[in-house]
C-alpha cells in the first residue's frame, strides 16, 4: 500500500525540492520503490533529477485536467527504484484554470489512485504557495513533510501552514497528518538557528524529525549536474543527512 507524502511549505526557498529529490533517492537506495511527482511549474525537481520537462500533449497538466494518467508519463531516473513524473510549464496555468473545475481539489488524488500499487512511497514536490496545486497535493496525501529553514520569516509562516493543513483535514482529507517538520540549511553556529530550533521543538515536540539537514554547498551544486546528492557526492554531509532522514522515515512507518 503506497504511502503518499506531500513536501510542502508556502514559504519560498526552504528546501522543498532539495528534500523531495534527495529523500526520494535515499529511500530508493534503501530498497523502497519511490515515485516523485513534480507539480511545481518551476520544475526544479525535474531538472534536479536530470530529466527534462514534459511539455508534450500528454503530461502531468493534461493528466490533472483530463483525469487520466498514462504509464509513459512515468520516467526512469539515474537511481534504481526511483521513478518520476516530470513537471511542465503548462502547470503555470493550472492554478487559475482549476478554480472553476468539478471536484477541483481531488484531481491529483484520483490520478494517484490510478498509479501502480507497487510503489512504497509517492512524494509530491509542491510550489511555494497555498493555491490549487498545493491544495491538490494535501488532499491526495497521507502526510506532509514540512521543510523549515531555521530563519525568522520561515518560522513565521509555520502557523499559517498548520492552519491550512487543519482546514484540509476537516474539509477534504480526514487522514492528513504532519509526517514531520524538517530543519534545513542549518548553520549551528548562528544564534538565530539555535533559537528557531528551540522554539519549534518546544512547540511541536515529536512532530519534528530528529534528523536535521546542515547547510552544505554540495547540496546546492548537485542540481547543476542533474544528480541527487548520493550520486554527486555520497561522502558529503548533505548525503549523510538525507540518508539518515530516509532511515528515520522508514522506521516511523515500520509499524504500519
Amino acid at each position: 500500500m503506497k504511502k503518499v507524502i506531500a513536501i510542502a511549505n508556502q514559504k519560498g526557498g526552504v528546501g522543498k525540492t532539495t528534500t523531495a529529490v534527495n529523500l526520494g533517492a535515499c529511500l530508493a537506495v534503501a530498497d523502497q520503490n519511490v515515485l516523485l511527482m513534480d507539480i511545481d511549474p518551476q520544475g526544479n525537481a525535474t531538472t534536479g533529477l536530470g530529466l527534462s520537462k514534459n511539455d508534450s500533449d500528454a503530461n502531468i497538466y493534461t493528466a490533472i485536467m483530463g483525469g487520466e494518467i498514462y504509464s509513459d508519463m512515468i520516467r526512469d531516473t539515474a537511481v534504481d527504484r526511483l521513478k518520476a513524473i516530470p513537471s511542465t510549464t503548462d502547470l503555470y496555468g493550472a492554478e487559475i484554470e482549476l478554480v472553476t473545475f468539478e471536484s477541483r481539489e481531488q484531481r491529483l488524488k484520483n490520478l494517484i489512485a490510478q498509479v501502480d500499487d507497487a510503489f512504497d512511497f509517492v512524494l509530491i514536490d509542491c510550489p511555494p504557495s497555498l493555491g490549487m496545486l498545493t491544495l491538490n497535493a494535501l488532499c491526495a496525501a497521507d502526510s506532509v513533510v514540512v521543510p523549515l529553514q531555521t530563519e525568522y520569516f520561515a518560522m513565521e509562516g509555520l502557523s499559517q501552514l498548520d492552519k491550512t493543513i487543519d482546514g484540509v483535514r476537516r474539509a477534504f482529507n480526514p487522514k492528513l497528518k504532519i509526517e514531520g517538520i524538517l530543519f534545513t540549511m542549518v548553520d549551528g553556529r548562528t544564534m538565530l538557528s539555535q533559537q528557531v530550533i528551540k522554539e519549534v521543538r518546544g512547540y511541536y515536540g515529536d512532530i519534528v524529525f530528529t534528523t536535521t539537514i546542515p547547510r552544505n554547498v554540495r547540496l546546492s551544486e548537485a542540481p547543476s549536474h542533474g544528480k541527487p546528492i548520493i550520486l554527486y557526492d555520497f561522502k558529503s554531509k548533505g548525503a549523510d543527512a538525507y540518508i539518515d532522514l530516509a532511515h528515520e522515515l522508514i522506521r516511523n512507518h515500520k509499524s504500519d
Copy 2:
C-alpha cells in the same frame, strides 16, 4: 512623478522581501519619499518593518477588490520618509477571486494612481508565484527589480520570468522594463556563485546591478527585531550593500 518598482521573482526565498524592506529604508535615508506595498499574503515585509498585518475590514485586499484606497491604510514605519501598506492574510484568497474580476490585472495600478504623488518611489513586494497578485504588480510597475540568489535553481527560473515580463509588456504595460537583476546572498568563495554571476552578467550585461548583496547573517536576524538593517546594524556588510544599491538606483534615475 512617483516611480513604481515591483520586486519580483517566482523562485522562492531569493531575497525579494529582504530587498524590498532594506532598499526601501535606504532610499528613505537618502532623502527619497518611499511607499512600500506588501502584496504577499505571507506578510514578511510587514513584519520585517515591525508592523502588524491589517486584517481589519479596510486593508490592501479590500482596496484591490473594491477599487478604492484610504489614507489610513498607509502606515508610518520606524524610518522617516518610509511609509508602508501592510499585508493581510485575506490576500490568500485574492489569487483565486481575482480570476473572474473585471480588468483583473489593472486593479493595483488603479489603486496606485490614487496614492499621493509626493512619493518618489513605490516598491511592491511580491509573493513567489506568477499568479494574479504578481501580474497586478507587473501591470502597475514602471520597472522590476529581480533579486537572484546565485544558485542553480534560481538561475533556471530567470528565463521564465523574462518571458513573463515580455508578455506583460506586450499585452498590458508597454513601459515595463527590468530595473536590474540583483545578486543576493552571494558567497564569493563558492564556485557555484562565481559561475552563476559570470553566466548571468554575460547574458544580461548592463541590466545587472553593479552592487551585489553578500550573505550576511545580520540581514536574517534583523526581521526578528522588526527593523531594517540600517536600524538593526548599520555597520554590517548587509547595510553597506543596500546603501550602495539605493545610491546606484538613484543615480540611474537622475536623468529622468
